[in-house]
């Protein structure tokens, strides 16, 4: 199944914890059954991190990114390391 930009807002809201429980479950069921959708979820997630690192998120999105997306220790650790790496690339 092909996926397009129309699904990006829904996926972004999922990643930022803005969906209701029912919407979350429905979307999760979808990506468990659809490998292409899962791949697109990862793409949107990568874009989200990139936009955060570049200061491109709106205020609400940034707040939810920091409050919800980064509540996972693993994600926080990775973003910190990516940030450090980007900083060293800029300096180096």
């Amino acid at each position: 199944m092909a996926h397009n930009e129309d699904q990006r807002p829904l996926i972004t809201r999922y990643l930022l914890g803005e969906l209701s429980e029912e919407e979350q479950s429905e979307f999760e069921e979808s990506y468990f059954a659809d490998d292409e959708l899962f791949a697109f979820l990862l793409v949107v997630e990568a874009d989200l991190v990139e936009r955060y690192m570049n200061g491109e998120l709106g205020e609400k999105e940034r707040e939810n990114f920091e409050r919800y997306f980064l509540r996972s220790d693993e994600r926080r650790k990775r973003v910190e390391i990516v940030s450090r790496r980007m900083q060293s690339l800029k300096e180096g």
Binding site: E5, E29, F32, V43, E56, V82
Partner: protein
């Protein structure tokens, strides 16, 4: 490199944790020489998605428990879980084979489906705010495998839905267990308050050194990519902000594909790069 004549899938569990497993698809030629190995372990995290630089990060080894330490359940911290709490169950090779057979009759495809399923499970738990997504993914897989061994029927046409259902149960137990374990810092005595731990600090410093070494290995892997793939990746990540977005549009136009298709293509390249890096790390681990 010769194409495989037979393929083996096997399971390895270390004595450190019950949840650590390796599902390897080994392509073997007639002389039993290993041609290629794909390994999925808890070491390999699911985050193929953060950014190009984070490819290295996703391959970082997870901190393992000390050898000999008990293997707690990922959900409740004890060795038993939920309604099956009387007996600690560990994945066996037979159970794992049964699980793979249920995913696909072809071993290669079953291995791929298993790896993808595990990534989906870990992503699900991560998106739900769990602190140990990989372990909870393994816990889910263990439960399904156990049910299969015990004769429970999984609808063959939609095993993913079944896994998702089990994952939701694991999540619920995790959340209930986490809620029970919450306590206020004010309730702790001064001696119990969090403090700087020199042993932990040293471990973190070692981990940082490891990151740096693995970055070098990533660069090695990049060099080994076909030039067209390497150039595509580098061009994709060139520039910053608006310039980068514009660059991607131009790149997609040059390739005659949509930006979305370009992103998926790059995602797959990164995935291949991550596997290559994993192989390199595994080789070095054997030396």
């Amino acid at each position: 490199m010769t194409k495989s004549k037979r393929t083996e899938i096997f399971l390895t569990q270390t004595n450190r944790r019950t949840v650590i497993r390796k599902a390897s698809v080994r392509a073997v030629d007639g002389s039993d020489e290993v041609c290629s190995t794909t390994t999925t372990t808890t070491v390999i995290e699911e985050e193929r998605s953060l950014s190009f630089q984070s490819v290295i990060v996703e391959l970082l080894p997870r901190p393992l428990r000390q050898p000999g330490a008990p293997a707690p359940c990922a959900v409740s911290g004890c060795r038993s879980v939920g309604r099956r709490k009387s007996v600690a169950w560990e994945m066996t090779e037979d159970a794992f084979r049964t699980l793979l057979a249920r995913l696909d009759a072809d071993w290669d495809r079953a291995g791929e489906k298993y790896a993808l399923l595990r990534r989906k499970l870990a992503k699900f738990f991560e998106c739900r705010g769990c602190h140990t997504p990989a372990e909870l993914a393994d816990e889910t897989i263990n439960r399904v495998a156990r049910r299969l061994v015990e004769g429970e029927e999984i609808l063959a046409f939609e095993p993913e839905r079944y896994f998702y259902g089990v994952a939701r149960n694991v999540l619920r137990e995790y959340q209930e267990s986490s809620a029970k374990q919450l306590f206020s810092l004010d309730d702790l005595s001064p001696a119990e308050h969090p403090r700087h731990d020199p042993i932990e600090a040293r471990a973190r410093a070692e981990l940082r050194g490891q990151y740096e070494r693995q970055l070098e290995q990533l660069e090695t892997c990049l060099e080994q990519l076909p030039p067209a793939h390497r150039d595509l990746l580098l061009e994709y990540y060139r520039g910053e902000q608006r310039g980068r977005i514009e660059g991607r549009r131009e790149l997609a136009a040059r390739l005659g594909i949509t930006v979305n298709a370009l992103k998926i293509r790059v995602f797959r390249l990164r995935d291949a790069l991550a596997r290559r890096l994993n192989d390199l790390l595994a080789q070095q681990g054997r030396v």
